[in-house]
Structure formats: C-alpha cells, structure tokens
C-alpha cells in the first residue's frame, strides 16, 4: 500500500471554513480534556487563550508587537514562494537585518536627525537582501538547492552576531549584547509597546500585493512562478526575476530584524531572532502563500503565543509544557485540515509486489 496526496482541483470556501472550524473545535476539545486532566477549569482556560491576546489593551498591544517580526518573516517566505523558491532563511535574514540596523545606529555615519530611522531600516533591509542573494546566486549559477543554502546560512548569520556581541560590539556590562542604540533611532510608538513597524508591515504587504496583481513586473513574476519554461520561451529574464524576488524576500526578513532592533529591543544580542524565521514558514503555508493573508495569520500566531504564555500565569495548574501540548495539537489539526481540504488521500496497491504475490 502506498499513500498519495492528489490535488482536489477547485474547493469551495465553505468546505474550507467548515474543515478549519472543525479542526479548531477538535483541538479545543482535546485542549479542554488536557486542561481538565491537569486540574484547571477547561472552558475558562480555553477562554484565556482568547482574552489574553485580544481581551485587553495590554494583550492586544503585545499580540500586535509580536506580529510585526513574524509578519515580515512570513512575507519573506511567501514572497519567495511566488517563484516557487523555499526561503527557509528568514531567520538568518532577520539576524542580518538586525545586525545592519544596529550597525547604522551604533557605528554608522552621521545622518541628519529625521533620516536616521530610514537609514537604519535601509541598512537592515539591504543586509537581509544581500544575505538572500547568496542562495539566489548559488541556485542560479551553481544549481544549489535554495532550501539547503538558505537554511544553512541561518547558522552563519547567528555566528556573525555572536562574534560581534561577544567581541568588538560587546556592551558595557561585558555581557553578550551591544549598548542601547540612541533614542533618535527608535521607531515611534503607536500605543503601549507597539511601534510604527506595524504600519510599515501593513503598508509594505499592501504595496507588494498591489505590485503582484496590478503591475507588469508582478505579472512577469507570476508567469515565472507558474512555469519557468514558459517564461523563458516568452523571453522573460527568468534568472533576473528569481534573483529580484529573493532579494525582496531577504529585504523583508531584514526589515523584521531591523524593526525588532529599532522598535523593541534597542540593542543587538545573540537571541534576537529565536525562531521567528522558522515559525514564518508555517505562517506562509497556512496563508496559502498569499502576502496579505500572511500578515493576518501572523497576528493569529502571535495571539497563540501570547495566549499560551498567559495560561500558566492565569492558572498555575497549567504548566508551560501542557500549554505546548495544546499548541501542538492545534497546529497539527489546522495543518492537516488545511492540507486535506486541498488534497485527497489516495491509497494505491504497490502493483509490482501484488503481481508477484498473485503468481
């Protein structure tokens, strides 16, 4: 027996809403059981997962704050998927973006006041773009899989940060982080800890979605993504388009890191990215590679994290490990549901073997 996933062709939105609602409902039921087994009131605990991230100005601000780096990273993954490239390197692009922005703020040339933030963002985006161009070049001219090269470059990026924060960029505490950047480089706050990076994220997502749907470049990218062979026949510069898309993807990852430095952390340290770039892959997948949806799903993921962290605080009977069990179940259910809506499972007999058995 062999299992195969066969695309279903067109699926109705209704079916999708139904399946995903069921997935969430099933995981809520499993969660309720797990919470009850741990000695916590199941319904109230599930409620915390909603009220913690959305139920107060504090929670909402923390959710949106976390959605910014996650959203940018998800855009970095989704953008590359437009040309069927898997960007597993948002984590590294995030790191290089954070590095670029920190350099601009601490060691860069003197820039006139109002242009400082823009300059630091540009440095972060450029570093991210350069970091993503390396796998682009390797793929275009060296036939190296971008899945491997983008992934492996993440570790190189983290090593760069470690070298700097343990070494020449070490701050006054002699602890592995830099000094705080000057307040003139801080992204202006919107409310509570939420900073202008949120507006930047939404603005850029809308802009990119518009370019994708309404411009010639967007059309060309779509053609390259749909069929490189066709694009080549039509005379499109396929390699150049692939590289350009990867550069944009890298710049988005870089902006995630830059916003994290300029908006929240205000200094570089070795734990700066801690997995946003990897979570972003799931976000982009669930968002069906769509740019605007990536931002929306990023908000939901941020909410899941903030809500999950709130659970053991709200009810100490629930340990962080139990919360992770629930988050895992939810993710698995939603991912399976999302896959099964688009594909059906076909069981096939392994013919050569059965023939032999029959003989």
């Amino acid at each position: 027996m062999r299992m195969r996933l066969v695309p279903r062709g067109r699926t109705s939105v209704l079916a999708e809403v139904g399946v995903l609602t069921a997935a969430v409902a099933v995981s809520a039921m499993v969660g309720a059981l797990v919470f009850a087994a741990a000695g916590a009131p199941p319904l109230a605990s599930l409620g915390v997962l909603v009220t913690e991230p959305f139920g107060s100005a504090f929670g909402l601000s923390e959710t949106l704050l976390k959605a910014v780096p996650l959203g940018f990273c998800a855009l970095a993954v989704a953008a590359a998927l437009k040309v069927n490239l898997w960007n597993i390197g948002a984590e590294g692009q995030f790191c290089m973006g954070a590095l670029g922005a920190t350099w601009a703020a601490l060691y860069g040339p003197v820039v006139p006041g109002p242009m400082r933030i823009g300059f630091a963002l540009l440095c972060g985006a450029s570093m991210g773009a350069l970091w993503a161009l390396v796998p682009g070049v390797l793929r275009t001219w060296g036939r190296v899989s971008e899945i491997l090269s983008t992934l492996l470059l993440n570790y190189v990026a983290i090593a760069w940060i470690e070298m700097l924060v343990y070494g020449p960029w070490k701050g006054e505490d002699r602890f592995p982080y830099t000094a705080f950047i000057d307040a003139g480089f801080w992204l202006p706050p919107l409310f509570r800890r939420v900073h202008a990076g949120l507006l930047l994220l939404v603005g850029i997502a809308v802009l990119l979605a518009w370019i994708e749907r309404r411009t010639v470049i967007g059309y060309e990218v779509r053609v390259v993504g749909a069929s490189p062979a066709l694009a080549r026949t039509a005379g499109l510069p396929v390699a150049a388009r692939l590289l350009a898309v990867l550069a944009v993807a890298g710049a988005l990852g870089g902006l995630a890191g830059a916003c994290e430095i300029l908006g929240v952390q205000h200094r570089l340290h070795a734990q700066i990215a801690f997995g946003y770039g990897y979570t972003a892959i799931i976000v982009a997948f669930l968002a069906r590679r769509d740019l605007l949806a990536s931002v929306g799903v990023a908000v939901l993921f941020a909410a899941l994290a903030v809500g999950g962290d709130g659970l053991p605080v709200a009810d100490p009977a629930l340990s962080p490990a139990i919360v992770k069990v629930f988050q895992g179940v939810l993710l698995l259910a939603v991912l399976s549901g999302s896959t099964l809506v688009r594909y059906r499972i076909v069981l096939e007999r392994a013919t050569p073997l059965s023939t032999r058995e029959g003989a």
Binding site: V13, E16, V17, L20, T21, A23, V24, A28, P41, L43, A44, L46, G47, L49, V50, T51, E52, S56, F58, G59, E62, L65, K66, E162, Y166, G167, P168, K170, D173, R174, F175, P176, Y177, R193, V264, Q265, H269, Q271, I272, F274, L286, A287, R288, D290, L292, A293, G296, V297, L300, V306, D309, G310, P312, V313, A314, P316, S319, P320, V334, S338
Partner: protein, 363 residues
C-alpha cells in the same frame, strides 16, 4: 482568494469559546494568596540552573499555604522576557523572580510601569525601589570542588565547560581554578565556551573535546547534565553544577556545587507579605546555605573529604577568603598582591583568568 477562510474559521471558533467561557469565578477565600511568578531562562527539566530555582519555587508552595506560584520556562532574554514579566503584573502577581542576568533591563523597564509589584532579579546589579537583586558566592563552592578536582586528577589536566564569557562565569572558573591549584600547583584548567546557558549538544561536544585534550576531570558551569554523561561514557571524573545529578553519571560524579534558592525565596516572600520588603542586594556565601557542595561521592578518598570539610569551615568562619592575594593572572602578572583581595565591585567586572586557566576571553 482562499486565505481569509482560516481567519474566519478561527474567529468563529474563538467567539464560540468566549461565549462558553463566561462562567463565575470561584468563591473568594479569607486571605487572598500571595501570587509569585518565576521566569526561567532554560527548561525546568534542565537538571541545572532553572531546575534549582524551580526546586525552591516548589519549596515555597510546600512551606507557605498562602503562597501561589507560577513559572515560565525557556523565556528568551529581551523583548519576550519583558512581555512575560508584564503578564505576571497584569494578572495580579505581587512578586516576580527573574532568574537570569540577561533579564536585567527588561525587569527595570517593567518595574517602572508596575510600581506596586516587587521584582527580584538574580545575578544583576541594577536596582530600583521595587527591584531587588540576589545572588550567592558560588565561587566558594566552586573552590571546594576545585580542591577535589585537584586531588583526583592524575594527568593534571582538568576541563571546564563554560557557558557565556561574562564576569559571572569567569569568576566561577577562577574560584574553581584557585581551588585546583591550592592542592595541585602544576594543574591546568582548560576552558571551552558554549555561548549558551542551556545547550546539551554543545555542552556534550565541549566535554568530549576536553577529554580528547587530555582532561581526566571534567567540570561544568553550564545548565545541562550532558557533560556528566559524556564524562561517564569516556571514563573520566565529572563535577556537576546546580543539582545533585549523580544518577546521570554514577561512576563519574564526584560532587556538584549547588544552589539552594529557598534560603532567599522564603525570606523574600515573608517580607513582601508583611510589607517589610525593601530593595537591596543579597549575596550570601557558604555560611548562609544558599551555596553548598552536593554530598561527595564515595569514590572521593576520606582524606580529601576531610580537607574539603576543613576548608568549608574556614570559608564559613571567614578565616579563608578565596580571592585573597597573591593571585596571578594566566600570563603570570600579579593581579592581587599579598594582603589584598578582590572587592565585590571588581568581581562583578572580572574579565581575566587566574594562573593555570587555559582559554581565552573574547574581546
């Protein structure tokens, strides 16, 4: 466009949940419990640093019926820590212990926003009216462990798995090395950095590299038990840290310098409850019980056990200061002259190794 479907369905489910969840709160009890939150940098199951803090948290729950605790593990230093600290404050916690140096500026930032909440930061040096700091003179227990390592080594080469190259860790390596050299003046202590508090993979590799380089005793200053397991597998002695983890390396384990944070935590929760808490710094040594050695393994010979007991008593009584001069640095330069010692302020900024330590501190 498909994507919004996910958002719609999740929103639907969430609305249903909230509707289902609006139930009454449990009846209020006579005295509201003192809610105490903990922030750990590693998982509670690390068998090391975070585990030791969690033991003391459980001790509070057992000792005081009016204390209610919660913890968050593996909280990254930086923006995440700031959120989790604030989540405690938002939920009515009156006391929060933040147990890693890297939480320092997050604690200060959150403490300013929630002046009614008391924050205790472990191993830091920045305080505020509602932020206190606490730590212990672990270098004393490391010194005692060093005595044992110095007496047990045959090759004269001892390995040390060290997490971050920061003053806190450098101080402990130095305390250990001073103990080693007190009984074995030719011995060397080789240091390998893992650049992480908790990373069992890197810690195991570091221990393996040290054994390859000739070490027959491996000590660790990182949070996991991986170096002990590697020592056991390679047939060399091991000195743990933070917890009595002898069951992970029964043939290799000699002892482990350990923390007993309940010494600090019991006192702090009492004071916060009585309203007598004031900001300050706790930095106790062996005499307070906040640091101590795990019971020595049976393979440690009786004369070494006696030596450790004597030196332990001398440190407790104050007649032995492990940082008393003369102390030379690893290049042979005299750092602490005869008759002098290293004041606490300099210990907080220590960025040099004592004589006998092999390894570099990144600049």
């Amino acid at each position: 466009m498909r994507p919004p479907a996910l958002a719609v369905s999740i929103a639907l489910a969430l609305v249903a949940l909230v509707a289902a969840c609006s139930r009454g709160e449990p009846e209020p009890i006579a005295e509201p419990p003192l809610k105490v939150g903990f922030l750990y940098v590693g998982p509670v199951g690390d068998g090391g640093w975070s585990w030791a803090h969690d033991q003391a948290r459980k001790d509070l729950e057992r000792t005081f019926p009016w204390v209610e605790t919660a913890f968050q593990e593996s909280v990254p230093e930086g923006a995440e820590a700031e959120r989790v600290l604030a989540q405690y404050a938002e939920r009515g916690y009156r006391l929060v212990f933040a147990t890693s140096f890297g939480y320092m500026d997050s604690v200060l930032a959150v403490a300013e926003r929630y002046p009614d909440v008391t924050f205790m930061h472990c191993s830091g040096y920045k305080r505020a009216p509602n932020v206190g700091t606490y730590f212990g003179r672990m270098e004393q227990a490391k010194y005692l462990a060093g005595l044992i390592a110095g007496r047990m080594t045959r090759s004269g080469r001892i390995g040390f798995v060290a997490p971050h190259p920061i003053p806190e860790v450098i101080r402990l390596v130095n305390g250990f090395a001073l103990g080693v050299r007190a009984v074995h003046p030719q011995a060397t202590v080789q240091v390998v950095w893992t650049n992480a508090w908790f990373d069992p993979g890197k810690e195991k590799e570091a221990a393996a590299a040290l054994v390859d380089a000739g070490a027959d005793v491996v000590a660790t200053g990182a949070d996991s038990v991986a170096p002990l397991q590697e020592a056991q597998a390679r047939g060399v002695y091991a000195i743990g840290y933070d917890s009595d983890a002898r069951r992970f390396a029964p043939g290799a384990f000699l002892t482990a310098p350990m923390w007993d944070w309940s010494v600090v935590y019991r006192d702090v929760v009492r004071r916060v409850r009585d309203g007598t808490w004031t900001s300050g710094d706790f930095n106790g040594g062996l005499e307070t019980g906040v640091v101590r050695l795990a019971p020595l393994a049976e393979i440690v010979p009786p004369d070494v056990q006696t030596l450790v007991e004597q030196e332990d008593a001398r440190i407790r009584s104050g007649s032995l200061d492990i940082f008393a001069g003369p102390i030379r640095d690893q290049d042979g330069g005299l750092r602490v002259p005869e008759g002098a010692t290293i004041p606490d302020t300099d210990q907080l900024r220590m960025d040099w190794f004592v004589e006998g330590v092999q390894g570099t501190i990144p600049r």
